[in-house]
């Protein structure tokens, strides 16, 4: 199991050091600094073995978090724990920075004591932790006996992510379907790989212990219902999901509140949600993806000192919809001496520090087309090595889900309290963003 946990600043100074196991000595702190943080070479692996001691590290801005062990630990668990640790810290005091860590070091030690016992991760849900680890140490004294046992049963209980007795005057929930669409396209316009990785983020402000059921246009469910003939269409289009089309989901993963065995057997998604914001599920699709933009590059080398670049972008969605924050990044060779750009729409600039022409368009409707052309002048070099021509990448945001996913319903039941599914105000929003959206040129 994890033998110790260290946090360093970018210089390699220790900000937090907590040792859980006897086999980890103080010299481990220095070993990591010398061999990894101060190493001359770029980091080649997130796991480093120094003298039979293994170090796992992640970096957040310029802060290093390192977990140390001498045993054959579950490596995936260690990394998951380090991410979780970052989440918990962010939830408590915001951005992970040297200043924030120093300002909260007492709190961090307290958290580390709670969420890692003898190197074994314990309940690390912020919802639960915040009920008894607070920045005001005194508050914890005032718990009554009932409160105390409520805390402990929540921390150890089956529903460790939600406390009892939550009350809202207005029961409300927000669902965000956030997708990032990834594309790698050949210069000839052939799709080399494309996939959507999506997340359903839920903000719930619901009283009591509500039982929720979430439905979407999952092909497997729709097909099953179609066959059965007894389609439960009541839920359909209830939340604005108008499309009848279904989508094939390659794989999905769920927040720990979702009953996985039920999903496995019936493919229904039922759960008691945590209070506030959390990620309900992640999914991935690869079939029938709507690619919101098509990039057509044309690069011509004119002699040894000049390049002509022309890039056309075409938007490929309903004309009534608007894409936003569009940015096209066209890489230029390292020996570029000057660039002249002409674009039909938006603004384009050559950024020497980034070796790229950055073309920004604020808004663009569907089924439109725009174009940029540039002349790049090059300094003659002796370098034999050819320019690697990195791909042209694109960023954008569109108000629909490129995978075609639609929320069909989200039903809420709270048998003990007197509100019903109809009283809950529900909001659904779809946002599609570019992930790694690249076209080779």
């Amino acid at each position: 199991m994890i033998g110790g946990l260290f946090i360093y600043n970018h210089k390699g100074e220790v900000l937090i050091s907590r040792v859980y196991r006897d086999d980890i000595g103080r010299n481990a702190v220095d070993a990591f600094r010398v061999n990894v943080i101060h190493a001359r070479q770029q980091v080649r692996s997130p796991v480093t073995n120094i003298a039979r001691t293994s170090f796992f590290h992640v970096k957040r801005s310029n802060i290093w978090l390192a977990a140390v062990t001498k045993q054959n630990v579950n490596a995936a668990m260690v990394f998951e724990f380090l991410y979780k640790m970052c989440d918990v810290m962010t939830a408590y005091f915001g951005k992970i920075s040297e200043e924030n860590i120093k300002n909260n070091f007492v709190l961090i030690y307290e958290l580390l004591d709670e969420i890692l016992d003898f190197g074994y991760p314990q309940n690390s849900e912020t919802g639960a932790l915040k009920t008894f680890i607070t920045q005001q140490g005194i508050k914890s004294q005032h718990h009554t006996k009932e409160e105390q046992s409520q805390i402990t049963s929540q921390v150890t209980g089956q529903i460790g992510w939600r406390r009892e007795g939550i009350k809202y005057r207005r029961n409300e929930l927000f669902l965000d379907v956030l997708e990032s669409v990834n594309l790698l396209m050949s210069p000839q316009g052939q799709v080399l790989s494309a996939h959507v990785s999506g997340r359903v983020v839920m903000k719930s402000y619901l009283s009591g212990m509500p039982e929720c059921k979430f439905g979407m246009n999952d092909k497997i469910v729709i097909d099953k219902q179609g066959k059965g003939g007894s389609a439960d269409d009541a839920g359909k289009s209830e939340l604005g999901g108008s499309g009848k089309q279904s989508i094939a989901i390659d794989d999905c993963t769920f927040h720990q509140c979702v009953r996985l065995s039920k999903f496995d057997s019936e493919r229904s998604i039922s759960f008691i949600p945590p209070d506030g914001e959390y990620e309900l599920m992640r999914y991935r699709t690869t079939k029938d993806i709507i690619l919101p933009f098509r990039v057509i590059p044309l690069v011509r080398e004119v002699g040894r000192t000049k390049l002509e670049v022309k890039v056309v972008i075409k938007s490929n969605f309903k004309p009534s919809l608007l894409a936003q924050k569009i940015e096209v990044r066209i890489p230029t060779p390292l020996n570029t001496s000057g660039v002249q750009v002409i674009c039909m729409k938006g603004k384009a600039k050559y950024k020497a520090s980034e070796n790229a022409i950055v073309w920004k368009i604020k808004r663009m409707a569907g089924m439109k087309e725009s174009q940029i052309s540039a002349e790049i002048e090059l300094l003659p070099t002796n370098d034999k090595k050819k320019w690697a021509r990195p791909p042209i990448s694109m960023n954008f945001e569109v108000p629909f889900a490129p995978s075609g996913l639609k929320v069909r319903y989200l039903k809420v039941f709270e048998p003990k309290l007197n509100y019903s599914d109809h009283d809950v105000i529900k909001w659904v929003r779809y946002i599609g963003r570019s992930g790694i959206y690249e076209t080779r040129c």
């Binding site: 039979r52 490596a75 995936a76 016992d117 080399l192």
Partner: protein, 949 residues
């Protein structure tokens, strides 16, 4: 609110000031002071001098302050054991506190203080806390048992905490169960033989129930524990799999990987024709792909594991090639791993895509990555024959870029392509030669030299090229030197007239001026070869080489099996068994996959470990790394090379002369080799063998010479058991027959002693065998020429053949014999050691061995323990070789030697074995794999016999 100020107090007299503040009456000031102390402690300052003052602050109702003091205690208690005792009272009191959070805190902290005196006081509170009404306290106490065990294992056992811990597995609270499982698993690891974690269907059921309810971390503990269980049959295994599969949809990657581990392991037990088996295979792919969208560090862990899974069960991900395409922004460690998996998944179906990708990668920035990409192109060519031509032209394009490291890497892989497809792509040699000057890495230089030597007859200026390398011979690395030596000898054999000087030059460089024993020995071998028998030299040096196989870098099967049992853990990241990086007793146990239970499948059902590409050739085998391929020509690497003999200077001179003569006659005479030449060299044998440290093999020809590496000492010879009485005189009217079996230089012999205990003379002996399992039959008549007088004994040796009629006997090695004389016919039966049937050419090719090992189903594997054997592995190996049990390879893992051996029976049956010898442990483990598994038992008996005599 800002605590950062505590980090900045670095003035003199600080400790003194702190002391004053700690003893202040004001609570706030005290707390401030403790915070300062902790801050100093964090940065590594020694604040142990403040121990009594800090401990004094412990008695407080402020929980935050209390936690800080505890933190201090955990750090310094060990260095101040006497003072730490001051804290005990507070702990004991806190363990009785009405607030469960405080009770838990006390027991948690107490377990972290590694001071004997405190530990004594811990037992009572811990006992209470293990049975506390509050689950939070119980789950903390469960972990505390593991802590205590780490400090004083005996105490934990004496106090009966282990039983209490076991009871907690049935606790109503899932988190208590999870922590108890974690604690028990850890304790069990340091007691490998105790059945502490007594997993039975009932406990498994409890664990599976808790699995659905506990936290993500708890699920990991439980799944990791489940993976150690071996189900009783395939049904149980299936039902566990069914309950574990839902975990594949968990958001936590570690839960997913641990579930994959359980499934991969239990799947071994499911019959392959079961529908569920196929369903399960299909269910595994999507979650593995999803892991690739996790954060880069987790992707890395996942990819290292996928690399193992793809080797074990290629069919799972064979359609998922695209997800392993490298993204421009992937961290380098992710890129390199993806590339590795791409090659493993490359097949005829997707090769076009893969090649296009690899070509892209070859233009990237990171040198290591580019190199690997170029090498990958070569591996594709070797793996998928249809793509070879495109690969070669891609490589040529890359050579044209003139980027130094790309060119070098390309040449290294082209060499392999030449070996795989001889006489197909040699047209590119001219292009390669153009780049000769830019090669500065040993591997590339060696590869180029190999190419020049191999195709010397097609390269007009081969001699000039090689000569140019020769100038700086002593500055080259060994790899290049060896290659240069071989290449020039090849050149000489192909064009003897022009290159005589060159070969003499290189031989003297290698033998006289080098202190590298390998180089020197190889030099001498060539030298002698050329001087003794140039024709033979030609046959040997220019012999056709075996093709290289298509899969490289495969993990050796037993290691792979072990690593599959460690999916998700560090071992799977390092691709090493835990014992290679964990100290002490932990992790020394080697895990193995369970054996398949359903025996319904036949041997020829599609093997999972078939090559990814679905190519029709043999299953992939592990081939030696690049360097070996070149060095392997003489096959000397199977056993540790003989220590380089020291050659007295006088002898060197002699050798020189001899060779001079040899070369002259070689040139003078026809290359065809006249007998006169051999005579001219007549004196050679007298001198050379001693310098080579070889037994009298000279006459025996070159074959023997090359076997030297295998067994430097002469083989001990087959073991012949002493004679035993087969037919007592009472049963045979006075004739007593005792005998034994022996195999002498390839001939099986039955050695008999016939004693006449009767009163009259016996004559007219004859012998006959009943049909038997291996068709043993007398190869000639029983030679008893003179009559046997009373009280006389005669020794007869009867050669046997194996061409007689066959009938399976019970036991297998039973032989029924009839002996006739002038008095009567007598029958008896005897049993022969099966080693009799081990033939001399039972040494399997290394590659073939690996392929065959994989090919034989696990059902046919039998394991035996050979006790009380005190030989080391080398002695055992040479002893066994005497009985024609040949060691193919040897591997050493943490003081345990594994010998891989092959045996061939007279009827052509191959038996493969793995012999594990642990230093200091007189018990060997023998695994025997054979298609005819009934033989295994007898092979084991032979091992027993040979090793113990």
């Amino acid at each position: 609110m800002t605590d950062s100020k505590y980090f900045t107090t670095t003035k003199k007299g600080e400790i003194f000031e702190l002391k004053a503040e700690l003893n202040s009456d004001k609570k706030e000031k005290k707390k401030e002071a403790v915070k300062k102390v902790i801050a100093s402690m964090t940065v590594g300052k020694d604040v142990s001098a403040l121990f009594p003052d800090v401990v004094n602050c412990m008695q407080t109702d402020n929980l935050e302050l209390k936690k800080l003091v505890y933190l201090y205690l955990m750090n310094y208690a060990k260095s101040q054991p006497d003072m730490a005792i001051m804290a005990v009272n507070t702990f004991v009191k806190d363990c009785e506190d009405p607030n469960p959070l405080i009770r838990a805190l006390a027991v948690r902290t107490m377990g972290c203080i590694r001071v004997d005196k405190i530990t004594e006081y811990l037992c009572e509170p811990l006992r209470k806390c293990l049975k506390d009404e509050d689950p939070y306290v119980r789950k903390t106490a469960a972990v505390c048992v593991a802590k205590l065990h780490d400090i004083n294992a005996q105490l934990v056992e004496d106090q009966g905490f282990l039983d209490t811990l076991k009871d907690l597995i049935s606790d109503s609270n899932p988190m208590v169960v999870a922590n108890a499982v974690a604690a028990l698993s850890e304790i069990a690891e340091s007691h490998p033989n105790s059945n502490l974690l007594d997993l039975n269907p009932q406990t498994i059921n409890k664990l599976l129930t808790a699995l659905n309810e506990c936290t993500e971390w708890g699920q990991i503990f439980i799944l990791d524990c489940l993976a150690n269980y071996t189900p009783r049959d395939d049904r149980e295994s299936q039902s566990i799999c069914e309950r574990v599969t839902p975990r594949l949809s968990h958001a936590n990657s570690a839960v997913v990987l641990s579930a994959v581990k359980v499934l991969m392991k239990f799947m071994e037990m499911l019959p392959k024709d079961l529908d569920y088996y196929g369903t399960l295979l299909k269910k595994l792919a999507p979650p593995l792909v999803t892991l690739l969208s996790a954060e880069p560090e987790l992707q890395y862990v996942a990819l290292r594991n996928i690399n193992l899974i793809v080797q074990k069960r290629p069919e799972i991900l064979k359609h998922e090639m695209k997800v392993f395409f490298v993204k421009y922004n992937d961290p380098i460690y992710v890129k390199l791993e993806k590339l590795d998996i791409m090659i493993r998944l490359a097949s005829q179906a997707n090769i076009a895509q893969v090649l296009a990708e690899l070509k892209e990668y070859a233009t990237e920035v990171d040198v290591d990555f580019v190199r690997k990409a170029v090498r990958a192109i070569g591996r594709c060519a070797i793996k998928v024959e249809q793509s070879a031509e495109r690969c070669v032209s891609t490589l040529l394009d890359l050579i044209q870029t003139k980027v130094n490291y790309v060119v070098q890497e390309a040449i290294v892989v082209i060499k392999d392509i030449f070996r795989k497809y001889p006489n197909k792509y040699e047209s590119v040699i001219a292009t390669l030669c153009e780049n000769l000057d830019s090669l500065d890495e040993p591997e590339a230089r060696a590869a180029m030299i190999w190419i020049v030597g191999e195709y010397a007859e097609r390269i007009d200026n081969a001699d000039e090229l090689l000569e140019s390398f020769l100038e700086g011979f002593h500055d080259e690395s060994t790899q290049v030197q060896l290659q240069l030596l071989t290449a020039i000898v090849k050149l000489f054999l192909k064009k003897p007239t022009e290159t005589q000087e060159l070969v003499q030059q290189v031989l003297s460089l290698a033998t006289q001026d080098s202190d590298n024993p390998d180089l020197r020995d190889r030099g001498y071998i060539y030298w002698r070869l050329l001087s003794t028998d140039p024709v033979a030299a030609k046959e040997v040096v220019l012999a056709e080489k075996p093709l290289i196989s298509e899969e490289t870098d495969l993990i050796e099967p037993t290691l792979l099996e072990e690593l599959i049992c460690h999916i998700g853990t560090l071992a799977s990241v390092y691709h090493k068994p835990p014992s290679a990086f964990v100290e002490g007793s932990r992790g020394v146990q080697h895990k193995r996959l369970p054996a398949r239970a359903g025996s319904g499948e036949s041997t020829d059902s599609p093997d999972v470990s078939q090559s990814v590409g679905g190519a029709t050739e043999a299953a992939p085998t592990v081939i030696p790394s690049q360097g070996d391929l070149l060095g392997d020509l003489l096959n000397l690497d199977l056993a540790p090379p003989a220590a380089g003999p020291t050659v007295p200077p006088s002898m060197q001179l002699g050798a020189m002369d001899l060779l001079g003569g040899g070369l002259d006659s070689l040139l003078g005479g026809d290359i065809g080799g006249s007998p006169a030449m051999g005579a001219g060299l007549g004196s050679t044998p007298a001198v050379m063998p001693t310098s080579l440290g070889a037994p009298p093999v000279v006459g025996g020809g070159l074959g023997d010479l090359f076997d030297l590496g295998g067994s430097v000492g002469m083989p001990a010879g087959a073991y012949v058991p002493p004679k035993s009485v087969w037919l007592p005189a009472m049963k045979a009217k006075g004739l007593e027959i005792s005998g034994t079996f022996a195999r002498r230089s390839g001939v099986i012999q039955m050695e008999l002693s016939l004693t006449n205990k009767a009163m009259s003379v016996m004559t007219d002996f004859a012998i006959q065998f009943n049909r038997n399992s291996f068709g043993l039959a007398p190869a000639g008549p029983l030679q008893v020429l003179t009559p046997l007088s009373p009280n006389q004994t005669i020794e007869v040796s009867l050669p046997l053949s194996t061409s007689g009629p066959v009938m399976k006997m019970e036991p297998l090695n039973n032989l029924q014999v009839a002996v006739k004389n002038n008095i009567d016919v007598f029958y008896f039966s005897c049993q022969y050691p099966i080693s009799l049937l081990f033939v001399e050419d039972g040494k399997m090719e290394r590659q073939v061995f690996l392929a065959t090992w994989k090919d034989i189903p696990n059902d046919n594997e039998a394991q035996f323990v050979i006790k009380d054997c005190h030989l080391n592995s080398d002695a055992a190996s040479s002893k066994l070789q005497g009985s024609n049990i040949f060691t193919i390879a040897k591997r050493t893992v943490d003081n345990q030697d594994m010998l891989y051996q092959s045996i061939k029976l007279t009827n052509g049956i191959w038996v493969l074995t793995e012999l594990r010898v642990q230093g200091g442990n007189p018990s060997y483990t023998l695994s025997v794999k054979c298609r005819a598994s009934e033989v295994s038992q007898f092979v084991y008996q032979c091992y027993e016999l040979v090793l113990k005599n």
